[in-house]
């Protein structure tokens, strides 16, 4: 199974890991880390938005968060997905 990563575990950053998923399985998001208790909803929304905007339909995404703001989270997801699908989009 192909996976790719972007980000770090520095403060105010996050480590995003994405893996290929079989067609039709949809988008699966896992969130853990420091902001998860109070920002899960916002983080899920941001992750879903970025993935949809990249035209990806089936993917597994895991976020290990260390206090990333939305703008950082979005960038890390975008980078991880591009690495997974070989960039170019």
């Amino acid at each position: 199974m192909n996976t790719a990563q972007a980000g770090t575990l520095e403060s105010m950053d996050c480590l995003v890991t994405v893996s290929e998923a079989a067609p039709g399985t949809g988008v699966k998001i896992q969130i853990a880390g420091s902001s998860a208790s109070r920002f899960r909803t916002a983080m899920e929304k941001k992750a879903a938005e970025v993935i949809a905007s990249m035209g990806v339909k089936d993917i597994e995404l895991s976020i290990q968060d260390n206090g990333a703001l939305d703008i950082v989270l979005g960038a890390r997801i975008e980078a991880a997905v591009k690495r997974l699908i070989g960039g170019g989009r």
């Binding site: 920002f39 990333a68 703001l69």
Partner: protein, 516 residues
């Protein structure tokens, strides 16, 4: 269920705590009646040596039984061996159902979890941190934890809210008749400030030492008058955990900027003049504020009267350089502070009662001009929370937060607007520790936010060119914008923590976290 002055819902009666008194304002409640006291003792010349062979003998002699209250002080910090040693011995002796009344607990005390689970400890009155805090937050104790400030604790003892059956005092030096001091010996910790009230009011006092000196030991900080038994053990603590090395000023540019703004606020205030007194603690930002203030004091040629509270090497430096005349020390944080309090008569050991108790004839905090504090969050009404983390877990003690805020003429909370993604300024704090009526300003990297009730400070700051003044509305909307919307903390109804204001009224309660 009734609402206190801050709109917090407080039940009339809390199981395991009792009837509640509602918080009605920082200075509203006035005491009545007389102080409580410990048992009267009589020791004649038939006893000229108070030593017993070991901890178990001391416990047996103290008359400690299941269901009683035992107290400890935290000057050995994360190096402390005493709490675990005593509770382990109680467990082995079959004593159960104890109320633990520490001035604070540290990571080293996580061993107590087994004794909470096996019923040796059934109640904690005092701060719970780390793993014990997590356990309590998730409902791991039957009885709620009671949080009191450094001043609220001696008040509760003197007023009879809490009766100490046996106090265990960690004594870096002692003699066989119970004269104690904290500044000498291999486990020297400096001030013994928090232990004084316990020694005065407990029915029985056990001193535990690893440095026994011939009678009479000198210097003496706590005397034989209140100590019933002395136990010698190989070691009372790990020196590496008792004192830290030299505390350093932060080098993080963001925190330095915040410290600079805070220092500028102090300089702009009417309190920045000859004889200024201040408390800044040991945190990175407050220490940096002291560094900036020092520069400003030298530049303007003014000298301070005293530094208060937990004392660091940085304060010792100010004393040596004549930039403050005295240090009043309730807890010596580092090696320099320990050395200084042992050598320099201008570096004074004070008790927690003297430091911060609202119900005596005047605590040291009343004489304070400026205090720099932190908080996990502050709300639009300037209420501050230091007890719970963003996820709602009860993880921090109150310390001197309430007392210094109530006493100081200028109370500043200085910290970054966000910690990670979590905003430090919010519409409504999850739990209140210190009411907004005694908080004068919040300082963040975006500038200085003044409590509107302090129009004098607002005017003073506006008169200084280039000083960034940010309104609370602006600050909170900036925090919202950066962090995004938060999910609520999900809790059960059950109360696991009672936060007392320093006068013993309930300022807030903390509820059990819902299982995830």
């Amino acid at each position: 269920m009734a609402k206190n002055l801050l709109g917090r819902e407080i039940p009339d009666f809390i199981e395991g705590y009792g009837k509640t008194k509602l918080f009605q304002g920082a200075f509203a409640l006035k005491p009545e009646g007389y102080r409580a006291g410990g048992k009267i003792r009589c020791v004649n010349s038939t006893c000229t040596d108070k030593r017993v062979s070991d901890i178990k003998a001391a416990i047996a002699a103290s008359g400690l039984k299941s269901g009683m209250t035992v107290s400890f002080h935290h000057h050995l910090r994360n190096g402390d061996y005493i709490v675990n040693m005593v509770i382990d011995a109680c467990a082995e002796m079959g004593i159960k159902n104890l109320t633990l009344f520490p001035t604070a607990l540290f990571g080293v005390h996580k061993k107590l979890i087994e004794h909470i689970k096996n019923g040796v400890i059934t109640r904690i009155m005092g701060s719970v941190n780390g793993p014990i805090g997590q356990l309590v937050s998730e409902g791991g104790m039957e009885v709620p934890v009671v949080l009191r400030s450094h001043g609220g604790r001696p008040r509760a003892v003197a007023a009879g809210d809490v009766h100490i059956d046996v106090a265990f005092i960690a004594a870096p030096t002692a003699d066989k008749y119970g004269n104690i001091c904290g500044t000498q010996g291999k486990s020297a910790c400096g001030s013994l400030g928090y232990a004084f009230t316990d020694a005065q009011y407990a029915d029985f006092v056990v001193a535990i030492t690893d440095n026994l000196q011939p009678y009479p030991a000198a210097p003496i900080s706590m005397s034989q008058l209140n100590v019933d038994i002395v136990v010698e053990v190989p070691s009372i603590g790990d020196p590496a955990g008792i004192v830290s090395g030299t505390t350093k000023v932060t080098r993080d540019p963001l925190r330095l900027l915040i410290a600079k703004y805070a220092s500028e606020l102090i300089e702009a205030s009417p309190y920045f003049k000859e004889g200024i007194s201040f408390q800044t603690g040991a945190g990175g930002i407050p220490l940096a504020v002291t560094a900036f203030m020092k520069e400003a004091m030298i530049k303007k040629g003014i000298k301070g009267s005293f530094g208060l509270g937990g004392i660091t090497g940085y304060f010792v430096e100010l004393l040596k350089e004549g930039l403050v005349e005295r240090l009043m020390d309730v807890q010596s944080f580092d090696l320099e502070a320990v050395r200084s309090i042992g050598e320099n008569p201008k570096h004074i050991e004070i008790s927690a009662d003297w430091y911060a108790n609202p119900w005596n004839s005047g605590a040291a905090v009343n004489m304070l001009d400026v205090v720099i504090l932190g908080a996990t969050e502050v709300d639009v009404d300037f209420n501050a929370n230091v007890n719970t983390e963003a996820d709602g877990a009860l993880l921090h003690g109150t310390g001197g937060h309430q007392d210094t805020a109530a006493g100081a003429k200028l109370t500043i909370i200085a910290q970054p607007l966000l910690r990670g993604r979590i905003p430090c300024v919010t519409d409504r704090v999850y739990s209140v520790t210190t009411p907004g009526e005694v908080v004068d300003a919040i300082v963040t990297e975006y500038g200085i936010t003044i409590n509107p009730k302090r129009k004098d400070l607002l005017d003073a700051c506006s008169a200084v060119k280039g000083l960034p003044v940010v309104s609370m509305d602006e600050l909170v909307s900036r925090a919202h914008k950066m962090s995004g919307p938060t999910d609520p903390v999900e809790t059960e109804d059950r109360i696991i923590g009672v936060v007392e204001w320093r006068d013993g009224t309930v300022i807030d309660v903390v509820r059990q976290l819902k299982k995830k």
